[in-house]
């Protein structure tokens, strides 16, 4: 059996820390024996003494200190305990780290990765279940990535640390306990693109897809479940693309597949309004206007805070049934 996502992430952190003595890791409660709220940093403080530090509850300061380490020629990974708290570091990310890369009139390399556990489905309630991706779309000098069970974390972290500008890694909390690379055997998995490849899931033996779902991170599993359901009950064939980089988004390698289907659903857990998906839809409409057979369909959570009680939380967050309904609607015309 493959490793769990959190173990793969932990191994990746060990690997990148071992590979570069100038890399530091900062975050609240990341030191052993606690090893981080989700245990992603377990064993690191012992293995790399002095380079891994548990910090005060100071999101702005730890991101700023990470940026300072990077500015001084080092590299830093900063963990935000719950992604929601990244709002407290907004200034350091958007107005310092992101801008410093170019606002001094030349390129200033800044090797900084901010790790953010995000997403709901665990009953943590309104301040611990958010998906803040949308708030960071389109920030000059900032790249956005999202983990999945289908992207090797060592490759991903190495890539992010080599960019020379700050990057945020969103990690859907529901993924931590999942097995790497495990998926419904109905699907055949390949890759699409070279630099930041999407994992691509097609239905074994099916012909051309009626619809393509673009579904990063934690919603990929729900997209696959919806795909199974519409295939079995409505004979609608979908394929699912799971990107690892959200912004800037490289559409080029996906275009042939999207154009062939002519129908696209973009799925994300973010609550409605000004989302990553709407940015992507705008790009898709521009690139695929002649090929689209229906407007790009957005599937996201409701415009609401994320409730604590499981039944109420389910009402807000995107479910596989919501995705299936959207697919049926977009393919109906």
């Amino acid at each position: 059996m493959t490793a769990r996502v959190v173990a793969d992430l932990n191994a990746a952190l060990h690997s990148v820390m071992a590979a570069d003595e100038h890399l530091h890791l900062l975050g609240e409660d990341v030191a052993d024996p606690y090893g981080g709220a989700f245990k992603a940093t377990r064993g690191l403080s012992g293995a790399f003494p002095g380079r891994v530090r548990a910090t005060p509850i100071s999101e702005g300061a730890i991101v700023g200190a990470g940026a300072g380490l990077a500015l001084a020629g080092g590299k830093a990974i900063v963990e935000i305990m719950f992604g929601d708290f990244i709002a407290l570091a907004f200034d350091q990310i958007v107005s310092f780290a992101g801008r410093s890369v170019s606002m001094y009139g030349r390129r200033v390399p800044l090797h900084l990765v901010i790790r953010c556990p995000v997403g709901g489905g665990r009953g943590y309630g309104p301040t611990h279940s958010g998906s803040p991706q949308k708030h960071f779309v389109g920030v000059p000098g900032l790249s956005l990535f999202e983990t999945s069970a289908f992207h090797d974390h060592t490759t991903l972290l190495r890539r992010m640390l080599s960019l020379g500008h700050p990057a945020i890694l969103f990690e859907d909390k529901v993924l931590y306990g999942r097995r790497m690379h495990a998926h419904d055997t109905l699907f055949h998995r390949t890759g699409l693109g070279t630099l930041d490849p999407c994992a691509r899931f097609t239905v074994e033996g099916a012909g051309r897809a009626d619809c393509v779902l673009v579904a990063p991170g934690g919603v990929a599993e729900r997209a696959l479940a919806a795909t199974r359901s519409v295939l079995l009950t409505d004979e609608i064939t979908c394929e699912v693309l799971v990107p690892s980089r959200l912004y800037p988004f490289d559409l080029q390698p996906l275009l042939p597949v999207l154009a062939a289907a002519g129908r696209v659903c973009v799925v994300e857990e973010s609550t409605a309004g000004g989302t990553w998906g709407s940015e992507l839809a705008q790009q898709l409409h521009t690139a695929l206007w002649d090929d689209l057979r229906a407007p790009v369909r957005l599937v996201h959570s409701a415009d609401a805070v994320i409730a604590a009680a499981p039944h109420l939380e389910r009402e807000v967050l995107v479910q596989d049934t919501d995705i299936a309904r959207a697919v049926k609607e977009v393919t109906a015309g």
Binding site: G64, G66, A70, A76, D91, S100, S102, M103, G105, P140
Partner: protein, 305 residues
């Protein structure tokens, strides 16, 4: 009868005096250029506060990293003595230190960085201090902030880190009694000293403008911060003589007059000073003419990803 002075005015060496005058005339030149419509945006001059970076100049090492703020021309000139590069940056002309992208408030050059968001630099300076404490024993991260900036939470997050992690971070608080238009009494509860004490951070208050006195006071304190390493807050009781930015002074005449009483400039009036004053005024004017005649700056490498 001329009075014979016991020691040089302001305790300033020839180089100190020239630097003080360079900053003074640079700032005055900027206000004139603004009045003449030659500059865009805004600019915050450090008129009256020039002596602070000049005093610190001899106490800092080349491997120290200086973080400056919106009122940063003096800090820059004390570090690099490069009026042409700075003016070109402010005017968007060829030879600008940051190609004209940063302007008055956003400068990066070898161990010097300024940014226009109050308090933002302190966490970053703590990170640089963390790097220095490991890589360059004895080097300091120095962050200049005004009294108003003690209202920002980032300051306290950074002070806490610096004290906990024993970081070589020198916070230079330029307490000029006013933040934009708001007097300190209306925006700062308690005191800077009390706030430093809350974190167990050493605090020194400097009331003198005499460079020799300031240096004598600070030298052992900076040495201790370097060797500790440990953070240190140095609070300068100072006075802003000019407007906050271009021409926005709403202070009543008597308050302005009281601030002007503290100006170091009329205090130094020997022959050496008068000669240097004239020479540097002309030198800065010549720099301004020369820079204004340059072609516009070019932003070639704008890639941010």
């Amino acid at each position: 009868m001329t009075t014979v002075q016991e020691r040089p005015p302001l305790g300033a060496s020839e180089a100190d005096l020239e630097l003080l005058l360079l900053i003074r005339h640079f700032e005055q030149q900027l206000l004139e250029l603004f009045a003449a419509g030659e500059l865009s945006g805004t600019t915050h001059t450090c008129l009256g506060q020039e002596y602070i970076p000049v005093a610190l100049r001899t106490l800092l090492r080349p491997d120290d990293f200086v973080f400056s703020n919106h009122r940063g021309h003096g800090h820059y000139l004390a570090r690099f003595a490069d009026p042409a590069g700075l003016l070109a940056e402010i005017m968007g002309r060829e030879g600008a230190v940051c190609n004209g992208v940063g302007g008055s408030q956003h400068i990066l050059r070898d161990g010097f960085l300024s940014t226009g968001v109050q308090g933002q630099s302190l966490p970053v300076a703590a990170g640089v201090a963390l790097h220095l404490s490991r890589a360059e024993a004895g080097a300091l991260a120095v962050a200049h902030i005004g009294d108003g900036t003690w209202g920002e939470g980032a300051v306290y997050e950074a002070l806490n880190l610096a004290a906990l992690w024993r970081l070589p971070l020198l916070v230079v608080a330029e307490h000029n009694g006013i933040a934009q238009s708001t007097p300190t009494e209306l925006q700062l509860a308690g005191s800077v000293a009390g706030r430093a004490a809350a974190f167990g951070i050493e605090h020194a208050r400097v009331t003198s403008q005499d460079l020799g006195e300031i240096r004598a006071l600070l030298e052992p304190l900076l040495a201790a911060a370097r060797s500790g390493p440990a953070p240190l807050v140095v609070e300068f009781v100072t006075h802003r003589l000019g407007p906050h930015s271009k021409g926005d002074d709403t202070r009543p005449a008597e308050v302005l007059a009281a601030a002007a009483e503290h100006d170091w400039y009329p205090a130094v009036q020997d022959e050496r000073f008068r000669q240097a004053d004239e020479r540097i005024r002309e030198q800065v004017a010549a720099v301004a003419r020369e820079v204004a005649a340059r072609p516009r700056s070019v932003w070639a490498d704008r890639g941010c990803r």
